[in-house]
Subunit: 407 residues, 2 copies
Amino acid sequence: MNPGISRRSLGVPASPIRGLIPFAERALKAGKKVHFLNIGQPDVPTPEGYFEAVRSFREPVLAYGGSHGNPMLVQSLQRVYREELGVALAPENILVTAGGSEALWFTVMVLCDPGDELIVPEPFYANYAAICAGAGVRIVPVTTRTEDGYHLPVSDPARAVESKITPRTRGILLSHPGNPTGTVFTRQEVKLLGSIASRFGLFLVADEVYRDFTYDGRPFTSFASLEEAKEHVVVIDSVSKRYSACGARIGFIVSRSEAVMEQAMKFAQSRGCTPTLEQIGAAALYDTPSSFLEGVRREYQVRRDTLCHALETIPGVTLRKPEGAFYLSARIPVEDAHAFAVWMMEEFDLDGETVLFAPLEGFYATPGLGRNEIRLCYALEKAKLERAAQIIRAGLQEYGNRKGGLA
Amino acid sequence: MNPGISRRSLGVPASPIRGLIPFAERALKAGKKVHFLNIGQPDVPTPEGYFEAVRSFREPVLAYGGSHGNPMLVQSLQRVYREELGVALAPENILVTAGGSEALWFTVMVLCDPGDELIVPEPFYANYAAICAGAGVRIVPVTTRTEDGYHLPVSDPARAVESKITPRTRGILLSHPGNPTGTVFTRQEVKLLGSIASRFGLFLVADEVYRDFTYDGRPFTSFASLEEAKEHVVVIDSVSKRYSACGARIGFIVSRSEAVMEQAMKFAQSRGCTPTLEQIGAAALYDTPSSFLEGVRREYQVRRDTLCHALETIPGVTLRKPEGAFYLSARIPVEDAHAFAVWMMEEFDLDGETVLFAPLEGFYATPGLGRNEIRLCYALEKAKLERAAQIIRAGLQEYGNRKGGLA
């Protein structure tokens, strides 16, 4: 008699970001060059300080660390919050995690029981769907629209959120700047969400791992700075995007809720600790001169403009220039972006090259939305982005012809 | 209105292994020297190959890896299973995880829905309780006894397990060699459990991270080698104990169940990947000459004998010499080992030194069991163990006198 697996895991969706990798691997084996715009992997070199710190480790035993995290790394983060965001944190307000992902896992587990709900503006980072499904938590979406720049519905933003609150609602979860939209909430929106959280007794989980990348001089208001709702806010942070160090897998839960941190610590103990060397490297990253971040921000803005410009002129493509992060969401002239992505891997190439992107359907909770949309990462060199746009243009044209005209 | 946290997380017990660390930190601050026998942290130097491999990394970007794991590391593990256990694995049978802990988390989530049950011989590794509570899974214990060397109840081992099976039972979870008992199941016990799993359609989750440490020439039968139940077996593996590399946080799920591996992969995608450098280091560890493991095994056997010998002569202490791993469980002459542990940190020292150990109550699911038992780790130098035993002896004597006689 063969044992069955859990309904919980059957309910976890495959990643729309990583799920197409096997198709890309087959395309690579077939000799194609694949441009990977599906995943948020910058090509910016990781600051050398990371590697120097790791190389200088000279203890004879690679031992466990504390569950709470390396104290030097925690201190670095305290300094960043103080200097960059004006937020005073105690060491107990910070927990080092295995990337922002583990921080999200722990937070969802700490806040929600199976059957509870989180309100999430959609489109949202697709892994929220996987984590919530694994934890038995229902995502209740607030749909945002290209036309509004993916901000909260402008007509009545408070009502758009409050109308979704039920007795099972435990909090509001969002990425800020938005992944996949790049949307940077205004100070007014941040304060509005804080006030809703306070009034209705909800948590506000703000995934701010792209905080350093806002463009056109747009100011960033961290949810961590909401003094009036500080017991309600949980910020997810990470070195991955800030320092182009995705492979370090170092993230953080930052919260001034004592209850949240106390409970999160038990989950942290259940996995021992995060890696010793990676934490040493990450602590060194926070000593990188601020000119690094300024340079990267300027560079990403150029890259954003490059990709937007190249895509905007493709017939049938609509998009809104993102305000931050390094993704853009675009509507494309196909019926099913997933089928188009598979076709791009299996049947198409432009002089031996093709592009992998993330279909956007898995970034929505509302059935049917996002089927003709895609997410592209623009954290790659300008020339690569221009080439990728060329390939997408050619792919869309051939796909449209093949199918007998654009959808 | 302050938001509340989940019942799920309130139900997660604090770690009996790490929960007393704050007391130890205060003892350290007060100027005491603390011997940490609470945690499985060997003082054996990590093989240099790990650090050499990490230092030789020369890519400019510390990028994400695949969710499945570094292919070289996966190949290393395939070789180990083939050469050491005679088990042929495909790459798809192996998933690299953030330590054995993440492997356990994913496995419990993949196998069980909230309300499901796992049968677990007790005393068991305390983190099983935390992980199962987090996942909403009930641990149904099969109590094992010092007198039986913590083997399955000798009178009728099959009945001891089968009588615990209910419609909600999804599997049997155990550590092998046992943590905290050191018990190494006989070939007959392994086959019996395999046959129960097959007959009742259950999974068999075998945490074999201490596999390399069995003593007195005792043979080890891996659950991975059960060809007749191969679809039922999930093995948890890790570099932590084998190579004294606990801080690497590199572990594995190993299973020939296609369904398990397919579902586990979705959880793996939800957290991106395990750290890039740590995987490179771990792959190099598996090239360590086998003389390293032989030497460590001999050394741990000496350490075990040292600690057992030193403890056995303490009045009121009873223990059974462990067959493997590097822990021993002992009954001590106190009513409440947790209170004694706190007292050892706060009120006692022998010439400025004290010992931290893990109270065993949190390693049992049956209420009341283990209150007068402790777990000690003997992966430390002989002289340290002898000193620790001296301190425990003196502590027990003073504690007994203080309380007006032994319990």
